[in-house]
């Protein structure tokens, strides 16, 4: 199986290049402004470098002074010669084995932790270095108030304990119910015993006998207003509950933020560390699903970082037991609706946040958008098509301009037709 060869090999390569290309488009152009006093760089190279950097380097290196896993890269262009950097990035182990003094020194300085090899071309490495240089200059401009931005991580400790208590609560409830039932049965037994005893004595007068042998009239309860209201109320509540569940079943659950098996924080990863979405959600530019990262993607970093944290230990356990992590699904489209991420992210250039909200600020992910058909259609009606530079649309844009003065929206290209999403 391992040596099975995908037919679409070349296609995927192209797709990969395109996904890189769109990443450039998505990344903020602010970094490419070029610092004062530094020689201006080609913005294309800088943004290409930025994309590569964010996809590959950012998890271990910062552009500042601080050490993440590997050293901070501030001033790296001055510290080392470019050819040295190129051979180091491409294959650090080879450089170390060749006995290069600097290489061995860095290797030892960081506890003999090897930097993985990257299959970049020379130009790609240069573009990354160019980006780092430009990022330094931007950082220098905005350096003033930036200090103290670090927030303390680890606010999440202790939520696990609630789960454990929840488990006990169930048991306590069951025990309580059993005790209550036993109580009721005992009481009933006692009354019937007493009744029998009193009746046998035959010393009761008429009034007492009536009290002892009174019959309980069920029909009265049945007919009482209170009971009827209660039944109707319960019925309504049940119906509401049912309806709510049905609605949630097809994804209408705005704000739904279930507790996940691992307290993963998008705020930390996407927000503070600015890891590109594509780094973990690997198919977001390629396929219909954005894909939830597999454990091996977590391990790219967490084999080094915070490996002792109890949350990270859960991933280790999953790997040891060979059981995948069962996340709670938040976004549920009904089966009859077809949605494709690639169409929206890569082709249309829609930002992840447009539908998923301020994901970079979410400690726990919640459903930001209603995900109803009306919501989809509204956006398709209002959003102009992203036709720029896409030869697919060239002729359509021309035809649209001839016939209409309005914006060339998704809907005017047939984007509200049934079979675009339902088949």
């Amino acid at each position: 199986m391992i040596s099975c060869i995908r037919r679409a090999k070349t296609k995927l390569l192209i797709a990969f290049l395109f996904s890189l290309a769109t990443t450039f488009g998505l990344s903020t152009p602010g970094a490419a402004q070029g610092g004062v006093g530094l020689k201006p760089e080609d913005p294309a190279i800088v943004s290409a470098g930025e994309a590569l950097y964010k996809n590959n380097c950012v998890v271990c290196h910062s552009v500042g002074d601080d050490v993440v896993v590997g050293p901070g890269l501030k001033g790296i262009n001055e510290r080392r010669a470019q050819p040295w950097l190129i051979s180091w990035i491409k294959n650090s182990q080879a450089l170390i084995q060749s006995g290069d003094k600097d290489a061995v020194a860095v290797y030892n300085q960081f506890n003999k932790q090897a930097m993985p090899s990257f299959a970049f071309s020379d130009e790609e490495v240069v573009s990354i270095l160019t980006y780092i240089k430009s990022a330094e200059s931007v950082a220098a401009e905005t350096a003033g108030p930036a200090s103290g931005a670090e927030t303390a991580p680890g606010q999440n400790v202790g939520t696990d304990a609630v789960g454990a208590v929840g488990g006990y609560l169930d048991i306590v409830l069951v025990v309580l119910i059993v005790v209550l039932i036993v109580l009721v049965v005992t009481l009933l037994l006692i009354t019937s015993l007493l009744k029998n005893y009193l009746n046998k004595n035959k010393q009761l007068d008429e009034y007492d006998a009536e009290v002892v042998n009174q019959r309980f009239d069920f029909s009265k309860v049945y007919k009482s207003k209170a009971v009827r209201t209660l039944v109707v109320l319960i019925f309504v509540v049940v119906l509401l509950d049912l309806g709510l569940n049905k609605v949630m079943g097809i994804g209408i659950q705005e704000g739904y933020a279930p507790k996940q098996p691992i307290a993963f924080s998008h705020k930390l990863h996407a927000g503070e560390h600015q890891i590109d979405c594509n780094y973990c959600h690997t198919t977001v530019y390629k396929g219909k699903s954005a894909s939830i990262p597999s454990a091996n993607i977590c391990m790219n970093c967490h084999s080094q970082i915070k490996a002792e944290s109890p949350e990270i230990q859960k991933i280790y356990k999953a790997i040891e037991r060979n059981k995948p992590i069962e996340w709670v699904r938040i976004h549920n489209l009904p089966d009859l609706a077809y949605f494709n991420h690639a169409q929206h992210t890569q082709v249309a250039g829609v930002e992840c946040q447009t539908c998923h909200g301020p994901i970079q600020e979410m400690e726990v992910v919640y459903q930001y958008s209603p995900l109803t058909m009306g919501w989809c259609i509204d956006c398709h009606r209002e959003t102009p098509l992203n036709t720029e530079g896409n030869a697919y649309y060239d002729n359509l844009v021309k035809l649209h301009e001839q016939s209409s003065k309005g914006a060339f929206t998704v809907a005017s290209n047939g984007g509200t037709e049934c079979s675009k999403c339902h088949y």
């Binding site: 199986m1 040596s3 099975c4 060869i5 995908r6 037919r7 679409a8 090999k9 192209i14 797709a15 395109f18 509950d241 049912l242 709510l244 569940n245 949630m248 079943g249 279930p258 690997t282 198919t283 390629k286 396929g287 219909k288 699903s289 894909s291 939830i292 597999s294 454990a295 091996n296 999953a318 060979n322 995948p324 992590i325 069962e326 996340w327 709670v328 699904r329 089966d335 009859l336 077809y338 494709n340 690639a342 169409q343 890569q346 082709v347 530079g389 896409n390 030869a391 697919y392 359509l396 035809l399 649209h400 290209n413 047939g414 037709e417 049934c418 079979s419 675009k420 339902h422 088949y423």
Partner: protein
Amino acid sequence: MQDRIKYWKGIEELENTPEFAKHAHNEFPEFLPINETNGAGESSGVTAPRRDFLKLLGFGLAAATLASCEAPVRKAIPYLNKPVDVEPGVANWYASTYYNDGDFNSILVKAREGRPIKIEPNPGSSLTPRGTSPKAQASVLSLYDNNRLRTPLIKGKEAQWDQVDKEIRAALAGANGKVALVSSTVISPSTKQLINEFGAGLGNFEHVTYDANSASALIGANGGTVPGYDFSKANIIVSINADFLGTWIAPIPFANQYIQNRKVSSDKRNMSRHYQFEAIMSLTGANADVRVPIKPSEELAVVTAIYNGLSGQGASAPANVDKKAIDAAIKDLRANNGRALVVSGSNDPAVQTLVTAINKTIGSEGATIDTAAPFYTKQGSDAQMLRLIEEMNNGSVAAVFFYNANPVYDHPLAERVVSGLKRVPLKVSFADRVEETASLADYVTPDHHYLESWNDYEPKRGFISLAQPVISPIFMTRQMQDSLLAWSGNKTTYYDYIRNNWRKAATGDFNAFWEKAVHDGVLQNGTSMLAVNTGAASTMTASEAAGRAAKAAGKGIEAVVYEKVAIGTGSEANNPWLQEMADPITKATWDNYITMPRRMAEEMGVVQGNVMKVSFGNGKSIELPVLVQPGQAQGTVGIAMGYGRQLDSMPTAKGRGANAFPIATVVDDAILYTGAVQLEKTNSTIEIAQMQTHHTIMDRLIVQENTLAKYQENPKEVTEYIRLATHEGPAKPAAISLWEDYEYKNHHWGMVIDLNSCIGCGACTISCQAENNIPVVGKQEVLNRREMHWMRIDRYYSSVEHEEKDYKTMEDPAENPSVIFQPMMCQHCNHAPCETVCPVAATMHSSEGVNQMVYNRCVGTRYCANNCPYKVRRFNWFAYANNDKFDFNMNNDLGKMVLNPDVTVRSRGVMEKCSFCVQRIQLGKLEAKRENRRPVDGEIVSACAQSCPTDAIIFGDMLDPNSRISQILVRENGERAFHVLEELNVQPNVTYLTKIRNLA
């Protein structure tokens, strides 16, 4: 008055029987309320009382309340360790190979998240570049068959592999006598070498090859192999009982070749002429220009007549056979020396010897027969198997292995096989389930499905195709080759074994060569690796064979045991898609039956569905219903093989029809698939579930055909165009319209179907079923006329209605009708009648010309189906998924793995129909957009078009002037292009091309 061609779909329509008239008037057979028992029992008439309904409602509410105590939590479970190649939601394609009973296809397998879901042709293969067979399409479902063995068995009990290995190795070491491995044809070079090595280690070993439907006479008469036929080079094709388009030798390569010289256009106004002499109406016979019904016993006489006629001795045709046709065939063969081909499907050595001699006479060798590249897809030797059966019975066989062979079921001497097996101490079967032979075996060591295996195939000398696994084994099975390696003490895996074997074919760096071969799936550099045993050559001479002609004369009713296109010899009988596929000719599903000419049925006083007892040799008999078959030779009946399974391991096939193999007779060490039978009427009837007259034509102009002579004379006159009368004279229907036309800016999807190319094989219907999650509904629902297939192939019989004074009016039109096939699916009308009548706008037109069907809007009024002139809409009468009443693949978790995740599984109560594979259109457009370009022509094709072995269906963007479809439409406009029911002015996006017949 001009002769008019009358079209009819079945005898009932020709005769206008009361049953047919009733159906024709009630277009929709379904009456409300529909029976919940789905018609299986008698209609009870009892309706659920209201109180029961309320009770159920109350209970349902309570149950739902209990179930909904907590909000539904849905899980999203990613890979633990994602394989590099697999991206969730993105399909992977792997090159592989399907081979079963001669049916060879180089294929591509589409896999989603690691599970194969669709088979497509491998365009890189020079042998089968276009299309697949229906069996290949359906084979992916066999992978998910819930009845496959999950572990090896020892004496019927589940066991572990190491235990099995230990016991079999010990038994082999102590074997006293011959060890035999019985298999159907093996065309894998590595497997064959491995079997030989396995045998060499044992000493007294024989590899016995036999085919359930054998071609051993053909092989014997041609020096031990099947000649390298090339139908594409033949101008004249004469076939005697060879169903080469449907089932014979290698049908898909042959169909690919055949059609090349059958297509006509303004560039090529000529085509081959095809004579067919046959007893049953076969798929090939239905496509012939001249078809002559003959009895099987007349085969030799016909071949002798042709042989003698060619060698100038004067043809003497048998009395009952149309002499004119034989003379015409001889004349044509003579005139086309080196450009003609004669083939025969007979297993009579004399017939095959003469056919070989005829091909020599007409200069076929080196021209229409590639002598350097014979076919290997059938290698079985009847004599060898018969000898082994005798040896088993006399106790000289110590061990026998069965690989892709099931003689207890499919050998005419099955009883001798059973008695022989009792005397063999060690019996091992590699079957994937406990089938007839495996149930008698000591050990069943289940083989992988081919989609789980590595293998190589050489169907034709110098053409090698590879198979690679596309899914890890689902069950604890082991590939047969790995089992042999284990038992012979060889530690290598079969994968390494193949690689080592391929080193001899490699050029340059082996790893690069191997990777390329695996990627391409085929190796076409002329390397041959298969060692074929050519010892079976016969020594009969042509004059000897011709001399036999006098001896063979038929007495009584002759029965022909034939292969159906879908079920074949029955090895994949448990596949529900194949069981429900309409037979190309009879349009029957789910059963076999006695095909009988109408005159014989009248003489015997039986009608369709009457059960008859068929008695043959040794007083054995089977009971089957009668199906009146136009074109069946007088004095013959046809019965399909592959049915009559009685085992629990084949629940889908269990109890369907009867086993016809015992009718075949053994004569002089050869199996003849014919035999004399007595027919006896019984009192019972079995309804045959046919799809043929479910959608009637009411005598409208639906299909069009003309002759090649007319076409060459004036191609503008071969098609009839209906004009409407207006006050300004006749006008095109499209010129008079109530509606405004749509404006298409982006794409305008359309389809062209060439009736001249369609051979009616039905691969498209199964391909459509696989692509679009179409449910299997079972025999009863087909009888209720509620099949769900989105596309059907309408088969029309036609006969010429002559003027009354013509004596031919006295003849029976059903005696030998012409046949025409017409694939029919949603026509995606631009002025669609269905769209205007839907009260909830659940079906509407898209800006790309597609008629969209929105399931979640549909409320099931069925107005659209009522208003559709093509009868292509299907209503979901039941929930077919997760329903025990429809216990097919959609009712178990394993079977559901075949579903296409991009297509909705429809619920009960909604209408559905062909979508032009809109999921493929959307995906193709997305791919193009992602690469900043327009879609390339041929990139977006519907499933039916992709799987068509004859390129009869062309799908594309009619707005792109350079697309193939646009060019064909320009070229054929006014010549052969027509719309069905043009007079209704519904303006379909599907265009048909008139069929051209090259009549003699």
